[in-house]
């Protein structure tokens, strides 16, 4: 249980380490400049998340978290990255990424996001166990960094990776709360897969319509000016 896991105990330290690793991988996603590397970073993030879920399952003595971990591994860690690689090959996407923001600016903003989420979460969760608090702060950071990836990229493919990594943050939040029902985590997993399938459909439609996955083309259609 979260309460008897304090600083210095193995359960706490490993959970903390894995959560932090998920966050670090969000930063890696933020500065990647090649599509393939970005997909791999996303897959790595999902694997670390799987480890985090299984570890929490052990630490909280909640066997259903193993199932969450398994689903995360199957969907976010294997199926989706493989599908993304296949799409990159099929559509012959440019391998380098057109970013709307420089590395330094995006990293500085990213650090700001982490500081923000710590400032928001830690003072408001004084009544909860320290593991839950820190896990929630890490999860919110991952969510905000996912948003940052989303707004700092122009290609539809990389925007989707931003959203998917944001969903990783949500799973991280869900596994950190002691006693979260399995239904919630399962539904997140199912929705990630569903959402990804919808995205896949869109890639092909975008490609067919605009001959590119660059969302700047979308603005040029000019619907919003009418």
């Amino acid at each position: 249980m979260g309460e008897h896991l304090g600083y210095g105990t193995l359960g706490y330290d490993v959970a903390h380490l894995l959560g932090a690793a998920v966050l670090v991988l969000s930063f890696v996603l933020l500065y990647q400049r090649r599509v393939g590397a970005m997909i791999n970073s996303y897959a790595t993030q999902a694997w670390v998340l799987t480890a985090a879920a299984c570890w929490q399952g052990w630490a909280q003595d909640a066997p259903q978290l193993y199932l969450t971990g398994l689903l995360t591994l199957a969907a976010n860690g294997l199926a989706i990255p493989l599908a993304l690689h296949a799409i990159v090959r099929r559509l012959q996407v440019h391998r380098s990424i057109d970013a709307a923001m420089g590395v330094f600016a995006s990293m500085a903003l990213g650090v700001g996001m982490v500081a923000l989420s710590i400032m928001v979460v830690l003072p408001t969760t004084l009544h909860s166990g320290s593991l839950t608090r820190e896990d929630l702060a890490l999860a919110l950071s991952v969510v905000l960094l996912g948003l940052l990836v989303l707004i700092s990229r122009r290609s539809a493919l990389t925007q989707v990776i931003g959203v998917l990594s944001l969903e990783n943050g949500l799973i991280l939040a869900a596994i950190g709360v002691d006693g979260m029902p399995l239904v919630v985590e399962l539904s997140v997993a199912v929705l990630v897969v569903l959402a990804f399938m919808v995205f896949g459909v869109f890639f092909f439609r975008l490609r067919a319509r605009f001959d590119s996955l660059d969302v700047a083309h979308l603005d040029r259609v000019g619907g919003q000016h009418r």
Partner: protein, 491 residues
């Protein structure tokens, strides 16, 4: 899933959700377009009939919750779904004939329509915060796919934007859901089903009254921003005009009416949760701010719209803002007025979108510059559209006049200063609607390119407008009592 939950799903209440799910499954496999259209109508009508029985099945189970608010909104949603299914039959046939919709996609359309309705009804009737979230997300995915069905670049753009913005919004709402669960878990106590118990809408207000206030505040902010996106509230409204303008018109009618209502109902319930804890932040002011911002932003954006569907989409943002404003004010009068407004606007806006759908098909365009002088060639359509726009502009004799009047009155009583910006927004919005009414109906007629239809296709629209008029002129005593019951159950 426990046997108890399964029993709930198979009850009369669960049937309201299960029927459209089954219909979606059957329609997904049915290739015959004519049969599919009629089956769609049959399923939607049966769902409405089942929903009408909900007030006699009030109960709070593990999975499903039927309280006055849920019953009311479910009846409204299924009613709009039913008339939209009627409207879809000729509309989709024309779209398919003109090549704007591929024949095989007509099958997708019917299946997704039913899936969309099922997800919305589930969101309204669920007694679990998490299930509500999942249902709204499922409804979003179904709606995104329908919006993207026409084979135009604009439709792809619209559905992309819809998915991205709502995906982000709904993710923030999920984070809020987790934090809210975390806040009430210690109150509910440990146990195998404690987390499920903590996430029950029916138990949340009581649990929240003993929960830690800072956590509740954090949860509320995330949930408000998340569900505010789905309710089309500024500043996260950007998806709404695109989705309404580019998707098939029947979907715009349902989107306008229903998915926004679902999100507003969630915000309304959250208001009750926050109110239960005196130490937590007051939920009213943030909701008022978002509502007022939407009203003003939409009212002033209306002037510059050149696309008919986009124009009425902005009008929807305005009306959603008005309802949110009323819910933010709180109190018996404002809650009653807000609920009445939500109901009447849903009916009136669906009617307008159906008329607009016919007009756009007749003129072959959705630009104001190419739809004019409807009175000359399409007298019945023009008069019906005019009545619909007058209703949406909240002019007498329609019921929206009553609801907006009540909202302004409540504002005068509770926050006199806020009445000024609200009135400015309402007047500017109403003025623009009147101006557009004139350009659409009067003046030299633009050439027709589509098929002309008899006035019979307007039957569902007349039904909507008749309801809005009756509720404005002479609301029956039982309905007044019903609205008061629903508004009373909010506190």
């Amino acid at each position: 899933m426990s046997p108890g939950m399964l029993a709930e799903l198979l009850s009369a209440t669960g049937a309201v959700v299960l029927l459209p799910v089954l219909a979606a499954a059957v329609l997904a496999m049915l290739d015959n377009r004519v049969i599919a259209g009629w089956l769609n109508i049959a399923a939607a009508t049966a769902t409405f009939a089942l929903a009408c029985l909900l007030p006699w099945h009030m109960a709070a189970g593990t999975l499903l919750l039927v309280d006055p608010l849920a019953a009311h909104m479910a009846i409204l949603t299924s009613f709009v779904a039913m008339t939209t299914a009627w409207f879809s039959l000729p509309y989709i046939a024309t779209e398919a004939a003109s090549g704007r919709l591929e024949p095989r996609r007509v099958r997708h359309y019917h299946a997704l329509f039913q899936a969309f309705v099922a997800a919305m009804l589930m969101a309204l009737l669920s007694n679990n915060l998490g299930v509500t979230w999942v249902s709204i997300e499922a409804a979003t995915i179904a709606a995104v796919l329908v919006v993207g069905l026409p084979r135009t670049a604009e439709a792809v753009e619209a559905s992309w934007k819809y998915f991205m913005l709502c995906g982000v919004g709904i993710s923030l709402a999920f984070f809020g859901t987790i934090v809210l669960t975390l806040a009430v878990l210690p109150v509910v106590g440990a146990g195998p089903d404690s987390a499920l118990a903590a996430m029950r809408w029916s138990a949340l207000p009581t649990a929240a009254s003993h929960a830690a206030a800072p956590l509740l505040n954090l949860a509320f902010v995330f949930l408000l921003v998340g569900y505010g996106t789905k309710a089309g509230l500024a500043p996260l409204h950007a998806w709404l005009p695109d989705a309404h303008a580019e998707g098939p018109t029947p979907v715009a009618a349902v989107l306008s009416g229903s998915i926004l209502n679902v999100a507003l109902v969630v915000i309304l319930r959250l208001r009750g949760v926050m109110d239960a804890n005196p130490a937590a932040m007051a939920p009213g002011p943030p909701i008022i701010v978002l509502g007022l911002l939407s009203v003003l932003l939409a009212a002033f954006s209306l002037w510059r719209r050149r696309d008919v569907k986009r124009f009425f989409a902005f009008s929807t943002i305005e009306q959603s803002g008005v309802a949110a404003f009323a819910f933010g004010l709180g109190g018996p009068l404002a809650s009653f007025a807000g609920l009445l407004h939500l109901t009447l606007h849903t009916l009136a806006k669906a009617a307008v979108f159906q008329c607009i759908g016919h007009a756009c098909q007749a003129k072959g365009s959705q630009l104001f510059s190419e739809i004019g002088g409807l009175l000359a060639g399409h007298r019945a359509l023009a008069l019906t559209l005019a009545a619909g726009i007058i209703a949406v502009a909240a002019l007498p004799p329609f019921g929206l006049f009553t609801s907006e009047f009540l909202i302004v009155t409540a504002t005068m009583q509770q926050q006199p200063l806020l009445a000024v910006p609200l009135a400015i927004g309402l007047v500017v919005g109403g003025w623009t609607l009147g101006w557009r009414l004139i350009t659409l109906c009067v003046g030299p007629a633009t050439p027709d390119t589509g098929p002309a239809r008899g006035p019979l296709v307007l039957l569902p629209v007349w039904l909507h407008l008749a309801l809005v008029a009756v509720l404005g002129l002479a609301m029956p005593g039982t309905l007044v009592a019903w609205f008061a019951t629903v508004a009373g159950s909010l506190r």
